[in-house]
Amino acid sequence: MSVLSKLKETLVCLKAGRVTLPYPAQARPVPEKFRGRPVFDVAKCTGCGGCANNCPAREILLFDLCQEIRILQYLGRRCTYCGRCADVCPEKAITMSHEFETGTNSIGDIQQRLELFMSTCQRCGRCFKEPSALEQLKLKGYRLDDVAHERWVFRSKSYLDTEPVVDDIKIEMD
């Protein structure tokens, strides 16, 4: 009978009690492995560019200001919190924090900009002879990110054949 099943359903409901929380007054704690906003540790970062190469949303940019300073910028606009950057970082400099309340009207609150001082060889004063992963990519003409316009600029090999990308930096290889 329908009335009986309705009563049974009501009993199910009342047995449960109240389960909703008055958020934001009272929030539920997030678990350990929660993937929130990534946080970059400037002390550990070596500027290898692995995070930038593997970000599916292309939200990490790398740019060389001069021979010794490399800028790593996390834009955070389309970040999907997938955690690939933290996976591939060889120095474990990226942690996925527990922050998820990232609503703000100023994008600067979310963006992170690391200025990395790259050391030069003590003997000859040049940057390291063996090109780093990023240097290799630059040689192949893949990346020369446009930090001013916040664009990740990808150039394929075929583009390199028509127009030289790296114009005046000559890297000597023995």
Partner: protein
Amino acid sequence: MVAREKLNLLKGKFGAAVQRADMPCDERLFVFVEASALKAVCQYLFRDLDARYVISIGMDDRPFSGHFLVAHDFAFDREHLLCSVLTHVPADNPKVDSITDVVPAANWAEREIYDLIGIEPVGHRYLKRLVLPDGWPDGVHPLRKDFAWNQVPEGFDDTKEFKFDEPPEGCTVVPFGPFHPTLDEPTHFRLYIEGEMVRGCEYRGFMVHRGIEKLAESVLTYNEIPMMAERICGICGCVHNVAYAQAVESAAAIKPPPRAEYIRTIMLEIERLHSHLLWVGLACHIVGFDTMFMQSWRIREPIMWIAEKISGNRKTYALCVIGGVRWDITPEVKDELRGVLDKLEAEWRPVVAAVSKDKNIQKRTRGVGVADRNLVKNAGLVGPVARASGADIDCRRDHPYAAYDRLDFKVIVESGCDVWSRVLVRANEVFESIKIIRQCLEKMEDGPLHLSLKDELPVGRFGLSSVEAPRGESHHFVITGENNRPRRWRVRAPTYQNLQGIPAMIKDQQFADMTISLGSIDPCFSCTDRLETIDLRSGVAKVWTQEELIKLTRAKKA
């Protein structure tokens, strides 16, 4: 043996029209046929050999082989075989015979091929625009290789409108969507209503295109695509994630380690649990029974918590990389998962028992949204919709993937063909999923989580993968390519086929039943629409003032 058998049958019947065949393993068959024999081959497979139609795929292969490529995928569920019939279409004359008269389920797929690649299906009776927006210029086809992913087409016409058909005699037109409280995603059904009865409808959807397949071909790499694949859908993301990874692994002949397979299975079943519980709640909300909606979502919440604990997010698990998975299930998590499953089962059983005797809900769902066996075959319906009509198809058993070949479970089949049967199928599949997860937790082997792939993946290989999403079969087709990304990736979500059955399901039913009929296929329009969107700044800049906008929204449109 099965693949070889089917190939011999085809060769016997069509002789020299069968040009080439690839059989990478016993469950996959790729047959290249001549373009003139394509329709006959498809008819033979669909009608005589009783295969199930899956999807049609078009591809611009001109940079590689100089032709276009058209593929029709079929599935032999009883024999555990996925088969693809391919043909090359000449670049200067991109026309191919339409198979829609013999395989009615290919209707949308061929319109999509025409929209996006420009291969005209000759003989298609309803060749209207399907996927591209109304103002898109003719002759510009986004999925061609000479169209860049961020290119804006010239000649986009803001004012051009879609031409709908005339309504039948005596019917008023009731627009259902794009804005409607029941729909979570925008879609448009143009209903022809007589009194309170629906006499017909026309569908204009694909408003949630996002350019996923084009991005995968142009910009992203193999390991980045799973992160985007799981965002195709708002509920069944893990399915696309796993299906894509499996398709690439099948193409490149990679076998992930056993622990990874078990973890994939567990996460897929967790997703099925949360999706079915969500759906039961949603169906009750559609018929106005908000209390059951709240209760099923309350019961569902611990699954979201445990998923968050394992993978870091409630829904976008970001689970797969090519060759394995990223997250492990530690012994503590195992115990907690077992506790969650026990509690879930204990709470869900009385609810199902109470709901099955509830005459009030049954009155709204019995005899509504009927889809008989013929419709299932002709429209290629999949998932709980097909199982509720007596069709015993389930990819987990028919085309085993991940760890399903080592597990023991029942496929729930009902024969009522209506919405009530679909409610029962989904409610009972919850218990089967719980059983599967428990078996996985017992049988899970130790070992690495993923392979370390040192070499680049081979180029130009074909891969197919069918995964049983909560809504039905989710089918991915991949051709591996250069530069660490695929040449072509086609996603066929289950709702793509199920939506094509909707006009027949709502015909001659009451208007009030429209929403629950639509809801009963568990539509996921984001899954269906995953194709092209390009930034439509057409170069014509019009600045609307606030008054103009307000007037526009208040003006009555005929």
